[in-house]
Chain length 317, copies 2
């Protein structure tokens, strides 16, 4: 036999699971009790309104020689950085630069290999080279927020807003994006205001939550993540590639709105402000697939999957 | 500038941090107050007794064409599985088999690509093909346990024992290994007793804590993890490679005790039952390196680094 583990995306392969969505009239009061569902059940029962289409004006395409990484930008959380990254992309700042760092169980980072050379470094034109930090933003009570039932070790509240993992502190009136797998941020030096988006990184390992509120996160890789996570690791201690030939070249980074026709990726994401998404969280807190012997009864923020449907696009892999 | 993120191993590269270990006579009572330390401080001040040498009888070498993965086995938690994996290695069960699955943000898995073919599959000789599950074991109060101060979302207690991430439930009198990055387990089918070690997997993403108490973990990759985490991902939904040429061949898996002379890797690990390790945990709960603007004040089990010193070995990479 080939033994399998039910996977992070709820696809169980050789595991059997019921696709039947059952509503039982279970009590004398006629209350409707839903049978516990798997994530596959939840997705099979989802309706078109449970899904949203990526906004092309808030989406980046990172084009590598072997495919496209699609990054959704989080304008509600880091508006200046998001605007600046788009401005950098539109002045072709990133085109021809490279992936310069890959540190196991931590981050992959890209930008200008010559950033330390005043002569050779890529010049920023109309965009900004650095920006004031946007580590947190004012907690917007009008922003729909789906809290996790099991709390969080690092923040008073954790959950999802606009498709992103988010922590909130009602006492300080702040909210911030969380460093889960696939989240993209703006590297910086020691000064908090030394980032701005000319160097970006993506989380490729256990959520480095100690970075929360220490770096400005700008979005999340929603497709093509494996093009960044499966790269050869750079040398110790920090995974910077020592030789130019180790670096993966960046063909271009474009704002999706500037890409038209069949080159545009058509991608849908499950909304995170719906009963369907709350059912999905529950389906992951207690796994009902036959393979599972024990149900955890809990889930942490960075273990909740954010389902994606790729409808069309040039870089399927 | 090249912007850097202080890394998961506490090495900050361009970040400055103090290497001075300072004990201050700080109060009128003459109490000694230690200045907060970085992990680099803690390691610099560690003594030989803070380190332990891998027991070769409890260590596996997974030999790939491009290097060696060193796996420490956890006999105190899964004695039968550990004995069986060693028996499988010693009868050369794994030699010439392959890595058959790599699923992004989840697991890399190796074993027999022909496991589903009664004719072609590799025969188990004196070892066992399957074993009763060892998902948990009796909580041994004599086993030194360093609890985490911040608790755990999934278990009543979490901490470290014998160098492994461990959860405990005093009520049920059970303890179990936890699915952190690098942990190695024995794949199984739907029956809980269908594993045994002929297929093994390693965690390469966010800790899949829903697998805790659902699979028998047998150890942890302590060196060479990047040989398993940076592999090309297999196809959806579960990352199994579809074509034989996609699979990475396994040259051999050996018990370190059977490897002598310069081929033996000399590896030391920081003990997890010492004041030094407790100081390390604290140095990671509150990061004192200059780069950090905000100290999390918390840490989760799978974010605590387990430092390794590689003294000698044939497969440095």
């Amino acid at each position: 036999m080939t033994q399998a583990l039910c996977d992070a995306a709820g696809m169980c392969g050789r595991c059997n699971f019921s696709l039947v969505f059952v509503v039982l009239a279970a009590t004398g009061f006629g209350a409707e009790v839903q049978k516990p569902l798997t994530m596959a059940d939840v997705l099979a029962a989802s309706k078109p309104a449970d899904w949203r289409t990526l906004d092309p004006e808030n989406t980046l395409y990172l084009e590598l020689t072997n495919g496209r990484v699609v990054i959704e930008l989080a304008a509600a959380f880091a508006s200046n950085h998001v605007a600046n990254v788009k401005a950098l992309a539109r002045e072709h700042y990133f085109d021809g630069l490279a992936i310069i760092r890959c540190q196991d169980n931590y981050v992959t980072q890209w930008g200008d290999p010559e950033a330390d050379s005043p002569d050779k470094k890529r010049k920023v034109q109309k965009a900004k080279a650095t920006l004031p930090a946007e580590f947190m933003t004012a907690l917007d009570p009008k922003l729909p927020f789906t809290p996790l039932p099991d709390g969080d070790l690092y923040a008073p509240e954790a959950g999802f807003a606009q498709g992103f993992p988010v922590a909130r502190d009602p006492k300080s009136g702040k909210m911030w994006l969380v460093h889960c797998y696939g989240m993209v941020g703006a590297g910086r030096d020691n000064s908090p205001d030394s980032g701005g988006g000319t160097e970006l990184y993506v989380v490729i390992g256990q959520a480095p939550r100690h970075l929360d509120r220490n770096v400005t996160l700008v979005g999340r890789a929603v497709h093509g993540m494996e093009l960044l996570s499966a790269l050869p690791r750079g040398g110790p201690p920090m995974g910077f590639y020592e030789k130019p030939e180790q670096r993966t070249p960046i063909k271009t980074i474009r704002v999706a709105a500037d890409v038209t026709g069949p080159e545009r990726s058509q991608i849908q994401l499950l909304r995170t402000d719906t009963p369907t998404f709350r059912a999905l969280i529950e389906s992951r807190r207690n796994r009902r697939e036959e393979w599972f012997q024990f149900q955890a009864g809990h889930i942490d923020l960075c273990n909740v999957p954010l389902p994606v449907k790729v409808l069309t696009g040039p870089a399927e892999h």
